[in-house]
Amino acid sequence: MTDKICFDLRPLLARGIDPLEEVLAWAETAGANLTLDAPFNPRPLRRVLAKKGFSSEAIKLDAGHWRVRLWQEDPVRLYDEAGDEDCQGLPPLEVPVTRSGGMLHLDLRGLPPPRPLLAIMRLCMALDEALTVLAIFDRDPLYLFPELAEIGWQADAISSEPGKVVLKIFKSGPG
């Protein structure tokens, strides 16, 4: 499994250097784990990457600061089941899942709709034991609540701030 790589393009662009070749080299190495920081929404770069099979989403974090997350269309198992005994048996997801304190943790920020919903639903439907899932979204996943209710799960908000909503997702009790 490759580590998550965050590549800040701003210093290169400030010096007038075209970062295209370096980004392409990083994309080859990092696969779907690449995040780019740029001073603007780099649409031409995203188009080049799209031709190489990468989808991307850009979010404006601040004035002059955009974050671009890249992912590959054919879902790739981003966590290594063999190397992480605790998470064995989970379905293939687009984000790493870690287990601590008896809870599964996953960060779904940056994934475009409906991928966060699909990741949670795949995870919950695959879990046999009544584990609690702690998931971070970049906004309230409004469509998720009815779908969870349908399979007997529910969600409570733990914290909520712009760009970061943390939900505790667990099996509903009777009633």
Binding site: N41, P114, L117, L142, A149, E150
Partner: protein, 427 residues
């Protein structure tokens, strides 16, 4: 269920989308009812005022445009993370649309020019306002990977079709158009393949993976399908307007390629679907996927003059009732309980399951009757038997009443859930 204020801003009050969906369900009953009474004239129909034209517009405007309004104003803000500005305008759209449709249907049915002009003016104002609200929202969307192309194309197609509708109504009074039939055909293409088709293809990339729990369509190929569909639509419409048959046919073939790419993406999504029991709503959606390429094949047959007497009217029927109506009703069957479930959790409690709002028997009756209606009416076209068309329309009417029952059930269950939540909050 606690949701943030930002999310609340994006979720409109339930009454706003539901009033459009309610209008769609009622117009659906009206359209099949009209065909059950006057369907004898359907096999040879080539346009012109009368009950058939009114029934056709009850489907395209009454069911299609109303569902598009309700779905887009509710789903786009949630999917795009951008709130709709001036929610009051959505009430304005509805207040213009309802009298506009009533007057227009009356004008078309009774061949009254003045009523048609007033009704058309009100409907054009309503849908023009809708296009403006959607374009205003899309302009503020920073990044939304899949649907924006489709939503933009759909919005421009809506403006184009409204302009042609205005021309057609004016021509009815002053008679200045040299090739009215071609303008009417371009208006129809922009309405069904352009406005409704693009919106349907765009929402399919978000809603259908959500409902089936399958992989969303490949973003790169989805964008290519949108590009092909745009090129196909532009060339077909330009070919019709400029009387250039070759340009029209090139556009038509490009449209067929776009549809094939879209259907391949949908097939891929269904193969990865985790939810296997999708209910009657997906019977209708699957039927629409068969009807879409069939409509294009029939359109090509009609355009090349092959069995024109049968292929031309059958093309119109399969396109509007076979593809568009099947898809919209399938989505409506799924989205009505889904929205009710979403709103049931807003008062702080646990949301009720969408299936708690679903009347399975009514949904299945509706789907069965819809299949029967399509089969019988198509046979009526093929054998040029008005009686078969009316029999099919009766089946359609029965199905439409079942869907009305289904919608009333959702409304009643929502009402009960809200009342129960209020009692819990008070105690």
């Amino acid at each position: 269920m606690d949701i943030t204020r930002d999310a609340r801003d994006r979720l409109l009050p339930a009454s706003i989308p539901y009033r459009f969906f309610g209008l769609a369900v009622i117009c659906h009953v009206g359209a099949w009812g009209l065909l059950a009474c006057y369907g004898d004239g359907l096999p040879g129909f080539i346009g012109g005022p009368g009950p058939i034209l009114a029934a056709l517009h009850m489907i395209t405007l009454g069911v299609g445009a109303s569902t598009a309004c309700g779905a887009a104003i509710q789903l786009l803000p949630v999917a795009s993370r951008v709130s709709l500005r001036g929610v009051g305008a959505t009430v304005g759209i509805f207040l213009l649309l309802v009298p506009g449709l009533l007057i227009l249907f009356h004008g078309m049915g009774a061949a009254q020019d003045l009523a048609m002009e007033i009704g058309a003016a009100l409907v054009i104002a309503a849908l023009g306002l809708f296009a403006w609200k959607i374009m205003d929202l899309m302009y503020r969307v920073k990044d939304m990977p899949v649907p924006p192309d489709y939503v933009w194309i759909s919005s421009f197609a809506l403006i184009g079709l409204l302009s042609l509708a205005g021309l057609l109504v004016a021509d009815g009074k002053f008679g200045f158009l040299p090739r009215r039939q071609d303008i009417a055909a371009a208006h129809g293409l922009l309405a069904v393949y352009g406005f409704m088709g693009m919106l349907a293809m765009g929402f399919s990339g978000i809603l259908l993976p959500m409902f089936t729990l399958g992989h969303p369509p490949n973003a790169v190929w989805n964008r290519r399908a949108a590009g092909l569909a745009l090129a196909g639509l532009l060339l077909s419409v330009a070919g019709l307007l400029a009387d250039q048959r070759t340009v029209f046919l090139i556009g038509w073939v490009l449209g067929m390629v776009a549809v094939m790419v879209h259907l391949a993406l949908m097939r891929q999504m269904m193969k990865t679907a985790m939810r296997k029991r999708l209910g009657p709503s997906f019977l209708l959606v699957r039927l629409s996927w068969v009807m879409l390429p069939l409509s294009l094949a029939l359109g090509l047959a009609a355009a090349t003059g092959f069995a024109l007497d049968r292929s031309a009217p059958l093309f119109g029927f399969i396109l509007v009732f076979g593809w568009m109506l099947s898809f919209l009703l399938g989505v409506l069957q799924r989205i009505l309980p889904f929205l009710a479930s979403m709103h049931s959790g807003l008062s702080g409690g646990r949301p009720l399951m969408p299936s708690a709002f679903t009347h399975e028997k009514a949904a299945m009756t509706h789907a069965r009757c819809h299949f029967t209606a399509l089969f019988l009416v198509s046979c009526g076209f093929f054998f040029e038997q008005g009686g078969l068309v009316r029999l099919g329309a009766l089946a359609g009417l029965l199905g439409a009443l079942a869907l009305l029952w289904f919608a009333l059930h959702v409304w009643w269950q929502s009402h009960k859930a809200l009342r129960a939540a209020k009692l819990v909050n008070i105690s």
